[in-house]
């Protein structure tokens, strides 16, 4: 068995609550990314479904520019968010899925802040390079740089959720 640096023994009820919280985050983030693909899928369906596709795009509009040429094409239509955002969300899910293999569910220890900075750096460099140098970036590059940041964010979000569960359980 792998020995973790933060070998915490939690009371039974807290372990159960932490696992449930982990499952909740996983399901929510899966729903989030499924809806991005659903936006493109519904575009090729009937009248009513296309209205739903519009609603999904409207939902993601506050957080993304949704420029078609900067989005991945799926089912013959651009996804509801751009390639960078798709990478961010996919990276987040990858981080959530990988979490139990790298850390203990229920652990409240976050990595050092510089780790987050290092993972966000490729996204900033890619964005700055494509804008400053005027060279067009590719969707794959946008998604890859975004996914590193998204995966890192999961290692901050989950400990915060576990901390919340822990503090509520003690009341």
């Amino acid at each position: 068995m792998k020995k973790h640096a933060e070998n915490i023994v939690l009371p039974g009820y807290e372990t159960k609550a932490a696992v449930m919280a982990y499952g909740f985050v996983l399901v929510l983030s899966l729903l989030w990314i499924i809806s991005i693909f659903a936006g493109a899928y519904l575009m090729r369906q009937g009248h009513m479904e296309r209205i739903w596709a519009g609603l999904i795009r409207y939902f993601f509009a506050p957080a993304c520019h949704q420029i078609g040429s900067r989005s991945f094409i799926c089912f013959g239509h651009p996804l509801a968010v751009c390639a960078r955002c798709t990478g961010l969300y996919a990276g987040f899910i990858a981080g959530v899925i990988l979490y139990p293999f790298l850390k203990v569910i229920g652990s409240q220890k976050t990595p050092r802040p510089w780790v987050l900075g290092a993972c966000i750096l490729p996204m900033i460099v890619e964005w700055t390079w494509s804008h400053a140098a005027g060279s067009a970036s590719t969707n794959a590059l946008r998604a890859m740089s975004g996914s590193a940041a998204g995966a890192a964010v999961a290692f901050w979000v989950l400990p915060a959720v576990f901390q919340l569960v822990h503090s509520r359980g003690r009341r």
Partner: protein
């Protein structure tokens, strides 16, 4: 240590920052970069919350996430209010909304455009926008709150039972 400091005022402050920046035309486009103004407003909220804490208490990431979540909710409410005011002052909601969308998306479903035109001026549209903004801003508010906690919280060695 459990902090009993109110999160309401810092959240209102952060929410006002989010709402104001997300409603000003052109500036609001900053939200296209991973909800930048929501992240910023939540960091401001967490900063204000951290300043209220007693000297020896530490800011935890769960507190940061909670303050961020509240900032997002208030931001959506205040932003929607500002938006309605801005649209009333500068033009109809529908006109600028469709212009904004058509500029960005070549293949907007015509059914959706038609549906939106039928809904023009309806409070239902404002409520749908408010609901969507509340969900999106809350999610990104939590992220901003976590960033704020990482920036302003002190790292202390934790006591763990082995």
């Amino acid at each position: 240590m459990k902090n009993s400091v109110s999160k309401l005022i810092p959240a209102l402050l952060g929410g006002t920052v989010i709402g104001a920046l997300s409603s000003i035309p052109i500036i609001s486009m900053g939200n296209c970069v991973c909800c930048m103004w929501v992240l910023l407003g939540s960091v401001v909220g967490v900063y204000a919350y951290n300043r209220q804490l007693p000297p020896r208490s530490d800011l935890t990431s769960s507190e940061g996430a909670l303050v961020g979540l509240l900032c997002g909710v208030f931001g959506a409410l205040i932003g929607t209010l500002f938006n309605v005011m801005v649209m009333a002052a500068f033009g109809t909601t529908m006109g600028s909304f469709l212009e904004f969308f058509q500029d960005r998306m070549d293949d907007m479903p015509p059914e959706w455009v038609e549906w939106m035109e039928n809904m023009a001026g309806s409070p239902v549209l404002v409520l749908i926008g408010l609901f969507f903004n509340t969900v999106t801003y809350s999610v990104f508010g939590i992220m901003g709150g976590l960033v704020g906690a990482a920036l302003f919280g002190k790292r202390k060695p934790r006591k763990t039972k082995v």
